[in-house]
Each structure stands twice: as structure tokens, then as C-alpha cells.
Assembly symmetry: C2
Homo-oligomer: 294 residues x 2
């Protein structure tokens, strides 16, 4: 998955009036030097991002992603991105994506140290092939996230609701999962509640009810989870938000990690305990998630 295309967004040029933002973008070689060593994204992980799935050149759920980017920016005291400017940047990037699945990444960095403005860029790259993972499923382990469920509200400087570039812990959790022979992880709060995966949301089914941890307590509200919930509701299914004790996990009748690029990955084991896989529903969910959606 090499980045094949990248463009830099002019951060000072986000006036409401102009319709031709695309003319202000600078296309850069994704493999060539484009950022200076003074970039605060690189020095301090100081910025926010989004990853958008692209199917046959159609960028999925663009507005929900841009809304979450704006929310992350607000939580980090960054200038709120101009939605129309970024929408056009995504459209330019999507037009460079070939048939099949790709990923567009949006980055809003605090900019160069002591510089006047943030830095912003968009990249596009072919996605890894997740076809088999979507069918065969993934093994997951639970890992303590270290925070109590109520800390996000009490300590907003922990940025728990923001999708920041400071993802070293998320990556370390994935490495720990691999060390334990699993494919992915589910974070638990220090007080024993289910949260989310390092780069995905968790959806569980207990009997006829689908549930996901309520997006408080610092859980990112997953755009793919929202899409799946919309689809489940359209099919008359019961899908809600709950406070889920970790001790409920072994009772799940089905479970998925859902995210923008891998889409719905059925979970086959949690901490080595088997979870039933609903192959028919998983296949249907991925078929839906691969259809063009706005």
C-alpha cells in the first residue's frame, strides 16, 4: 500500500466564496520529500486525521468523515477545516483512484513550529486486499486502555474524543495483539468496560440486539459503525448503544470490528474464546459497505 498521490491544501485560502478550491491545491509526489523537519505532526503527533474508504473511485461517507475531522480539530484547538475546500480535495484525490478499493487519508497538522498556519494534505493509495479477512474473520484479544470510563468528560486535555495523529499507543496495542497470536485488539477501560479497537469500532450481537459501546468515555464515533447501524435499522433490526462490561464479551452471539477500509471483519475469537460467526450477515454487511454511499 504505497501512497500514489498526494496534494497539499492551502490553509489560508478557505474563503466561503470560492468554488474553485481545486485550483489552489498543490499536487506533490507522494514518495518525494514534501514536509519539513519542523512539521509539528512529525515532531509531536500534533494534528488530526481521517481515513476514507474509496470503492471504484467513489469516496465513501465523505461528509461524516469531514464532520468528525472538524470535531477533532475543535477538541485540539486547531482551526476548523473548511468543509467545502476539503470536499473538493477528496474529490480530486478520488478521481486519481483506480478501480477497486483505495484509501484516502486527510491530515490537518498544527503546521511548522512557530509557523503562521496549519499544514493540511490529502493522500490516496490502493487499499490492502481484505477480501479474505472479511470472510475468514479475525482473532482479537482485550487490552487495558488504562483510562476509566468517565475520564474523557473530566479531563478533556486527554483528547479522548479526537482522532489525533498521536497514534503510537494504538500501533503498540496492535503489535501486542500480534505477539499474542491475534490479529487485532479490543481496548477495555480500567474499570472493566468495553471501548473500541485501536483503529476500528466494535459491534456485538446478543440475541436479537446489536450493540456498540456508547460513544462517550472517549470512544470515537465510528463512521462505518454509523453506516452499519443505518443499514440494520432499515432492515428493522434492533441496534443500540450500551455500557458493556467486559464480562459480557464471552456471551456474544456475533461480533465485528468495523472500519472505513477493512469494513466489517467478523471476530472468531476473543481472548481465545470462540465467537460464533454469522457468515451470511457479514457478507451482506460488506456488500452494503462496498456499495456507493455518501
Amino acid at each position: 500500500m504505497t501512497r500514489r498521490f498526494a496534494l497539499i491544501i492551502d490553509p489560508v485560502d478557505a474563503s466561503e466564496e470560492r468554488a474553485d478550491f481545486a485550483e489552489t491545491f498543490t499536487v506533490v509526489d507522494a514518495a518525494a520529500p514534501a514536509l519539513s523537519v519542523g512539521e509539528l505532526s512529525t515532531q509531536r503527533g500534533d494534528g488530526v486525521f481521517e481515513s476514507i474508504g474509496v470503492v471504484d473511485g467513489h469516496a465513501q461517507e465523505v461528509i461524516p468523515h469531514l464532520e468528525r475531522l472538524a470535531n477533532s480539530a475543535r477538541l485540539c484547538d486547531l482551526p476548523v477545516p473548511h468543509q467545502e475546500q476539503w470536499r473538493q480535495a477528496v474529490a480530486v484525490a478520488a478521481s486519481e483512484c483506480p478501480a477497486g478499493e483505495s484509501v484516502i487519508k486527510l491530515i490537518l497538522s498544527r503546521g511548522v513550529e512557530h509557523g503562521p498556519t496549519p499544514t493540511a494534505w490529502v493522500t490516496a493509495a490502493p487499499a490492502s486486499d481484505f477480501t479474505k479477512v472479511r470472510q475468514v474473520g479475525i482473532k482479537v484479544v482485550t487490552l487495558d486502555r488504562g483510562y476509566g470510563l468517565d475520564v474523557a468528560e473530566r479531563a478533556p486535555w486527554l483528547l479522548l474524543g479526537a482522532k489525533t495523529l498521536s497514534y503510537a499507543v494504538n500501533m503498540a496495542a496492535l503489535r501486542e495483539a500480534h505477539r499474542r497470536g491475534a490479529d487485532d485488539a479490543i481496548f477495555l477501560s480500567s474499570d472493566g468496560f468495553v471501548l473500541e479497537a485501536p483503529t476500528a469500532s466494535l459491534i456485538l450481537r446478543f440475541g436479537d440486539r446489536f450493540t456498540t459501546p456508547a460513544p462517550t468515555g472517549g470512544i470515537l464515533h465510528g463512521t462505518t459503525q454509523l453506516s452499519v447501524y443505518e443499514h440494520l435499522a432499515e432492515n428493522g433490526l434492533d441496534a443500540g448503544y450500551d455500557r458493556i462490561p467486559a464480562s459480557d464479551l464471552p456471551r456474544a452471539d456475533a461480533a465485528w470490528l468495523v472500519s472505513s477500509v477493512r469494513l466489517a471483519a467478523p471476530i472468531t475469537t476473543i481472548d481465545d474464546v470462540d465467537v460464533p460467526v454469522d457468515h451470511a450477515l457479514t457478507s451482506e454487511l460488506n456488500h452494503y459497505l462496498l456499495s456507493p454511499r455518501d
Copy 2:
């Protein structure tokens, strides 16, 4: 504080045998593009760093910083940096520093996504002028770090002992401190113990005893704190490591935040409670910290 000088370290060229690493470094324009958008430092804050103070061209405490960089790398499953190669890189960067105070920053990133090696670079820049801060002192507020004191040992994937590039929370804590009319912050554990500042260590004095939070519980062992302790010991003073309840803070007879570039900043208030300032000792500490040290 604009970065004036930067060099890239060849990560595959760290053989024990060669003495001429300096010939393998690539000097780059610190203001020009040098890093690609695929850099994992910039996409995920995935890497580790150190900041080294430089006084009149002499880089301070280089080996302790390189040892901590190596420890951070180990905690993050990164290739351990080759100490002699980095020592030479620091020497080259220091030779570019003018008279007065500068800062050298070392960065070891996981590299470009799906790339074969880490990326590593060193920058040098003039330091901000902290002369007045060292005399007048700083106001600090306490902020919850969200983690219990025992979490680091239980959950190493939280990388609490590593100095990673994922510093968004540290920066947000400083912004919160500024919003509250303070200059800096002291993090507390969720169970009420004193930890460290977002970019500095805390040293307190109670009566004749100097104390700092024990560098477990995910506290970074401060290189400047170690230097200060060495100096205090040479002067026959009692300096130790303790588990310090936050409720002890208002009783402190003196307090400092110490770090590699700002050095010893005396604390004048903690959460608006006055702390006595020992001007004579502070001045002596900074005189010592500004003297050439290895």
C-alpha cells in the same frame, strides 16, 4: 526558534566498525521539504525523540539522552539506535550551533509506511530565551493524567516510559494550563499521586529533603533531574525518590520544573497556592546546568 540545521542519519549504515559516520549523514535544509507524506512519524506520531540542550556549542548530557532514546526505542519495538553513530550526529549538529543556548532534537521514526527501515534525523535551532523565566519563575496547575500509578507495569503497550512522538496530549495539557492563566502543568495520576510535567520533571523540597516522583508509573526519568540530583548529592544534600500524594503539594518549601532546554524553572504557584521561591539555589542550579556537562 526556527530550525536552522538538520541532517538525516542513514539507518542501515550503523555498523560497529566504522568511525566515519559523519560522512554518511545527509545535511538538509531545515525549512525545505525533507520528509515524505508516507512518514509514520507524521501519520501516527510513531517514533521516539530526545531534546538536548546546547550551551556555547557544547551538547549537554549526550550519553544519558542517547541511552534514554535507546530505551524508548526498545519500548516501541524500534531498532535500537547505534550510540556512536548518533553521538557523531549530535557532534556535527552541535558544531553548527552559535554561541549562547541552542537545542538539538533527535528523532527516530518508524519510517515510511511499508518501507524497509526507520527514518532518523537530527535538528539544531537556537533556544528560546529563558533567562527571565529562570529568575521570575512559573505558575503551574495540576491536571489529571487519567492513568493510575500502577498502569505502566500492567499495560506496557501504553508506552508510558517511552518518549514517543505522540505528544498531542502533552501539548493539549500546556494549552489547558495557559487557559487557566498558568505557564505549565503538573500531571497527577488518577489515584491522586504527583507524576511529572508535560515536558519537564518536577523536583520538590520539603524541609531539608529534595524529592521527585519515583520514575515508575510511567514517569520519564528526566536527564536534567538526574543532573540536578548529582549536583545536590555533591553538595551533601538529601535528594530522593518518593511516591508523592497530590495533597502534599501545598506544603512544598520550594519546587522546580526542570528540563533540558528551559533548565530549572522555579514554581511560584501551584493551583494558585503560593510556593516559596529559593532564588539563591535556583540561580546556582541554573549556573551549574549551564556549565559544560557530559
